[in-house]
């Protein structure tokens, strides 16, 4: 989170992490809500308002008005995600797309269909990033579906900046006989 400087530039950023960088995206939503309206597109039903409220409360007592500045839309299928992005007007409000690819990894949708829909989504994300910052988080596909990895790679290639977040390894604690194995 500290590496993301606010205000963000008008560009498309993609963050990849095992859990779609949800805590970081929620913290970013909280910080952006302090200063103005923002749009959140939740593709994996991961937007939990409680951590956002806690985070907002740390910065301001105006909790209700800050939360009211977050315009949340949840997509439960990749068709919904695609339609939501297509209908979204390009304005100055930043867009956070949390776990965007979750619905595109649905095995009941053919890979080529997912690719076609994602290509349309990327066009709209780039259109929206002309007027406001767009931050997309995504997770890699589950192990049994390696053929879906192409979706993540396509999204990363289309972004102006793509970050791969990795979990820090647990620090080794010294013992009386040196470092732990």
């Amino acid at each position: 989170m500290d590496a993301l400087t606010l205000p963000l530039n008008n560009q498309l950023l993609v963050m990849t992490a095992p859990h779609a960088a949800v805590p970081m995206m929620l913290e970013l939503a909280a910080r952006l809500a302090l200063t103005g309206d923002l749009r959140v597109l939740d593709g994996g039903n991961r937007f939990n308002v409680y951590p956002v409220a806690r985070s907002v409360r740390r910065y301001t007592a105006e909790l209700t008005s800050a939360l009211a500045r977050i315009h949340l839309a949840r997509a439960f299928t990749c068709y919904q995600a695609s339609a939501m992005l297509a209908e979204m007007p390009a304005d100055a409000r930043p867009l956070l797309a949390i776990d965007l690819l979750a619905t595109f990894y649905d095995e009941s949708v053919r890979v080529d269909e997912s690719r076609r829909l994602l290509a349309g989504c990327i066009t709209h994300l780039q259109r929206l990033s002309q007027t406001a910052p767009v931050v997309v988080s995504a997770k890699p596909p589950a192990a049994p579906f390696p053929e879906r990895r192409v979706l993540l790679e396509t999204l990363q290639e289309a972004a102006a900046g793509a970050w791969q977040l990795e979990a820090l390894s647990a620090p080794q604690s010294p013992t009386l006989w040196g470092m732990e194995a």
Binding site: N45, V49, Y50, A53, R54, T64, L67
Partner: protein, 88 residues
């Protein structure tokens, strides 16, 4: 479509878990007192769910306070009864 928000019981468990380190640092007697406070908050989970507050911990704290105040009222009433019996 699934839940879009954790249930109040999940929120309660998460808040309680967030204080696990605090609890561990307390003396045993204080740990038991803290457990009593969380148990008191648990009694009002349905009201907390109905309140749908953005910061559920505030509702839990108020629930703890509510139970403590009920206890103060009960003790005050008992004290008054004992005083009345002594003066009689």
């Amino acid at each position: 479509m699934g839940r879009t928000l954790p249930s109040i019981t999940q929120a309660y468990m998460q808040e309680q878990a967030a204080f696990a380190r605090f609890r561990r640092a307390l003396r045993r007697a204080d740990q038991l007192a803290l457990d009593d406070l969380f148990a008191a908050a648990r009694q009002h989970l349905s009201a907390a769910a109905y309140a749908a507050h953005a910061l559920p911990m505030e509702t839990f704290l108020l629930s703890m306070l509510l139970e403590e105040h009920k206890e103060v009222l009960r003790l005050r009433r008992e004290l008054d009864e004992l005083r009345g019996a002594l003066n009689a």
